[in-house]
């Protein structure tokens, strides 16, 4: 029997495994989390399981259905939770795994990577203070742990998640200090006709905003963040320099600030595509998403034979798209292996994916990535939180243009400055670092390249004893 490895148990992975099981295969299914569900439908540890409605709001139906499918599929697949796929060798068709400190190898005939996404971050002076998290992190604290990231939380950024998380916090009884959107209202308005293609999603967005306004939550659009301020006297002890306020400049150029003890920030999502990178799949810059995305066709086939991609790890599309894409990529995998697939099912998925793509395009227009904001990070501000590197240090490496030894592209900048070289491998600062370097060199961001992936995908401990060969 063909051995298929599926990495990731979010919406894409679940639907992919479901299709593979239907075809009579028993895939090896790897996920880092204990319970699966991915980030959006992350399942809380057992003692925290409340009813789905309270956890997921409008998404409750989808979440419940996905969890049911996950439950059924884990029982039938070769399910390996709490397992990190830290490297892949496509030529040898081997995945290298780490499970609770133990090394393992998975041999496969075909691999389907559904590795998801994380928040796209723009550093703001003070962003490394304890109390500042990503929007996704703020949401996980609430959904999976029943906690707010503080007592009085300000939300900053742009995109649908900004409003959703603020709404969820307010509903849960947290004090929302402010919602600060860097996108001007007019930009969003212009994209409204396209957003109406997906009426329910658009309506939800309007609903969250209106709900927050109606409750008197402070809202500002088209703002420029200036700094996250904190209590530096306590640095190193107590709250460790925790957050006290968020300062910004409004659309009219006036400075303003709000007192808060936590900040959630984020500007859309970016693919967690490290494994695709290590698999040798080429990347292209998607100008609309403003992200580097691994190359694949509409069905999820990549230029590396036997390797498929689905979900946000293959380019941001959201949970609904991920479910469709997971099933579609699994069907492509089956068809390529000469196994029977139902043509009508393939066609239906293709139609649904195409419709979603049109909506997604409007969404990207409504919430464009504020590249200029990322590029404007002050010299003294920390850019790379792993390596303690400032924006000014990166800019210095880019000066004296075109002399050898000067950094004309991202990987050279990394070699010289250590930007993106730390524990997170540039996941967090990479997008902003690229904007800073591109602006300093006077080049479009796609021209300066992207940080190359290097194994391991995430930190991996040196084993205490020699592993058995």
């Amino acid at each position: 029997m063909m051995r298929v490895a599926v990495v990731g148990a979010g919406p894409a992975g679940v639907r992919a495994v479901e299709v593979l099981l239907e075809a009579g295969l028993r895939p090896v299914w790897i996920d880092e989390a204990a319970e699966g569900g991915g980030r959006i439908y992350q399942r809380p540890p057992a003692p925290l399981r409340r009813d789905a409605k309270a956890l997921y709001g409008f998404e409750a139906g989808r979440a419940t259905a996905l969890h049911a499918a996950l439950e059924a599929a884990t029982a039938r697949a070769e399910w390996r939770p709490q397992t990190l796929a830290w490297h892949i060798r496509p030529a040898a068709r081997r995945l290298f795994t780490l499970h609770r400190g133990h090394q393992g190898v998975v041999e496969y005939d075909a691999a389907l990577l559904c590795t998801g996404a994380m928040d796209r971050v723009i550093p703001v002076p003070g962003w490394t203070r304890p109390g500042v998290t990503t929007l996704g992190g703020a949401q996980i604290a609430l959904k999976a742990q029943g906690c707010g990231i503080g007592r009085r939380v300000a939300f900053l950024g742009s995109g649908p998640l900004l409003w959703l998380v603020a709404y969820q916090y307010a509903r849960a009884g947290a004090e929302v200090a402010a919602v600060l959107d860097t996108t001007p209202f007019l930009t969003k308005l212009k994209a409204a006709p396209g957003l109406l293609r997906n009426g329910p999603v658009f309506a939800k967005g309007l609903y969250y905003t209106a709900w927050l306004r109606a409750r008197g939550v402070r809202i500002a659009e088209g703002i420029t963040p200036l700094a996250i301020e904190g209590d530096d006297r306590s640095n190193g002890g107590g709250d460790g320099g925790g957050v006290t306020a968020l300062r910004w400049r409004d659309a009219a150029g006036r400075e303003d600030s709000v007192a808060c003890d936590a900040v959630g920030l984020g500007w859309g999502l970016k693919p967690e595509a490290q494994l695709a990178d290590l698999a040798g799949i080429p990347f292209d810059f998607d100008a609309r998403q403003h992200n580097w995305v691994p190359r694949r066709d509409a069905a999820g086939r990549t230029p590396v034979p036997g390797h498929y991609l689905a979900g946000d790890g293959a380019g941001i599309g959201g949970a609904e798209v991920a479910e469709l894409a997971g099933a579609r990529a699994a069907l492509a995998l089956l068809a390529d292996a000469g196994l029977p697939v139902e043509a009508a099912r393939v066609a239906a998925l293709d139609r649904a994916l195409a419709a979603q793509a049109r909506f997604r395009a409007a969404l990207e227009r409504a919430f464009p990535f504020p590249a200029a904001l990322a590029a404007a990070l002050p010299d003294a501000a920390l850019l790379c939180r792993c390596e303690g590197l400032t924006a000014g240090e990166l800019r210095a490496a880019a000066r004296a243009e075109h002399a050898p030894g000067i950094a004309p592209e991202m990987n050279r900048a990394k070699a010289f400055t250590r930007v993106g070289m730390g524990r997170c491998q540039g996941r967090v600062c990479g997008a902003a670092a690229a904007e800073i370097l591109a602006a300093e060199l006077g080049q479009p961001v796609e021209a300066i390249g992207r940080l190359r992936g290097q194994p391991p995908v995430k930190p991996m401990p040196i084993p205490a004893v020699e592993p058995v060969a």
């Binding site: 030894g405 070699a415 592993p467």
Partner: protein, 385 residues
């Protein structure tokens, strides 16, 4: 005086010397040739220091070198000592000492034997017995039975060295061309004619082949093929942890080597990765990485549990006898080679650049190079067919 370089298609850029390859050796040669008043044009198909010079372990090590290499290594160590004055940066060169470790009586005997070789070349080494070793370096594991310390050795940051030399070479008047891949090699009346993929033409009476692994193809283009193979070091770095390993560590047999930088990261290597030189792709092998980690943790047990955050490789050229090809071509007057460093080029590079500059401008050098001659692989004489 710089080599005038803006070359429209069909208009040749002329220089006294073309340097083919922007690794440490090439950049140092360009610097030293420019300092001797020569018009130098260095051609690099990627970025300077992008392959073997930039991705290696960063050992500035004389101890354990092949005896034939020691005269170059000694000269190079002297250049390393004034790298700051030469280039404006020390490339994080730090004289930490190199401690070579034995894990058996047989390995200890090798350390003892090598000391005599080193002494003959003026390289000071200090043998350390088991008790003293574990007293001075209490973090060494029980598997270690003896050591040999080279106090003058140390390490540097490979990502910085070749670019620093290239900057200095440019400041001294050399022209450095990056992203310039040479596809045609010819020797015509009056010198060499090289053509790039973009159709540019470069001419000079002298040519220095310092193209690393790809230097083998250059030699072949001039009728002197050598048995070179790609060598891809399997390199790993950990997260920063408390700084406690001062010396650069090696072992007899070489299956692992490691050092810690004051920032706290531990850099270690061992074994070889995989590569596809035709697309300049190299990557460590996870199976090899795990073996190197196991060797490392036996040397320094405190490394258990420290997180590996990154691994990498690159492409060097390896010769069957594990020493480079250095010296004049046997087929083509005006052509000089220095490639196939078999993993030894980082330490040798800065000094060898100076030696090559001597050789190419004066026709001679005091440093014995006979062991590295290009025709040594065909004892019957003459190139193979």
């Amino acid at each position: 005086m710089t080599a005038q370089g803006v070359t429209a298609r069909g208009v040749a850029a002329r220089a006294d010397i073309l340097v083919l390859g922007g690794g440490g050796v090439g950049c140092s040669a360009a610097l030293h040739l420019a300092q001797r008043g020569r018009r130098v044009l260095l051609l690099e198909r990627g970025l300077v220091g992008g392959q073997a010079s930039g991705v290696n372990y960063g050992g500035v090590r004389q101890q354990g070198r092949n005896p034939a290499e020691l005269p170059i290594a000694r000269r190079s160590r002297e250049v390393w000592g004034r790298l700051g004055a030469l280039t404006g940066t020390d490339a994080e060169f730090s004289v930490t000492g190199h401690l070579k470790l034995a894990r058996s009586a047989a390995e200890e005997a090798e350390l003892v034997a090598y000391r005599e070789v080193a002494e003959a070349h003026g390289l000071p080494l200090r043998l350390i017995g088991r008790n003293a070793l574990h007293r001075d370096y209490p973090w060494l594991g029980p598997a270690v039975v003896a050591g040999s310390l080279a106090p003058e050795d140390g390490s540097a940051n490979p990502r910085l060295m070749a670019p620093a030399l290239a900057r200095a070479a440019r400041a001294a008047g050399a022209e450095i061309r990056e992203h310039c891949a040479i596809t045609d090699f010819a020797r015509e009346e009056g010198g060499f004619v090289l053509r790039s993929a973009a159709g540019e033409e470069f001419r000079a009476p002298l040519l220095l082949n310092v193209a690393g692994f790809w230097g083998g193809a250059v030699a072949e283009a001039f009728g002197e093929a050598v048995p070179i193979t790609p060598l891809s070091p399997n390199m790993v770095v950990t997260e920063p942890v408390r700084y406690f390993i001062e010396p650069n560590l090696g072992v007899v047999g070489g299956n692992v080597y490691l050092r810690q930088i004051p920032r706290g990261n531990v850099i270690l290597g061992g074994g070889v990765g995989e590569s596809e030189p035709e697309r300049r792709w190299a990557r460590p092998l996870p199976e090899v990485t795990m073996q190197a980690l196991a060797h490392a943790v036996r040397l320094v047990p405190a490394l258990a549990g420290v997180q590996v955050i990154r691994s990498w490789s690159g492409i060097d050229g390896q010769m069957p006898d594990r020493i480079p090809v250095i010296g004049p071509s046997r087929t083509t007057p005006g052509l000089f080679h220095a490639f196939g460093f078999s993993g030894h080029g980082f330490q040798l590079g800065p000094g060898l650049g100076a030696i090559l500059a001597e050789l190419m401008t004066e026709g001679r050098t005091d440093v014995p190079l006979d062991a590295f001659r290009i025709d040594r692989f065909h004892p019957a004489g003459g190139p193979p067919h």
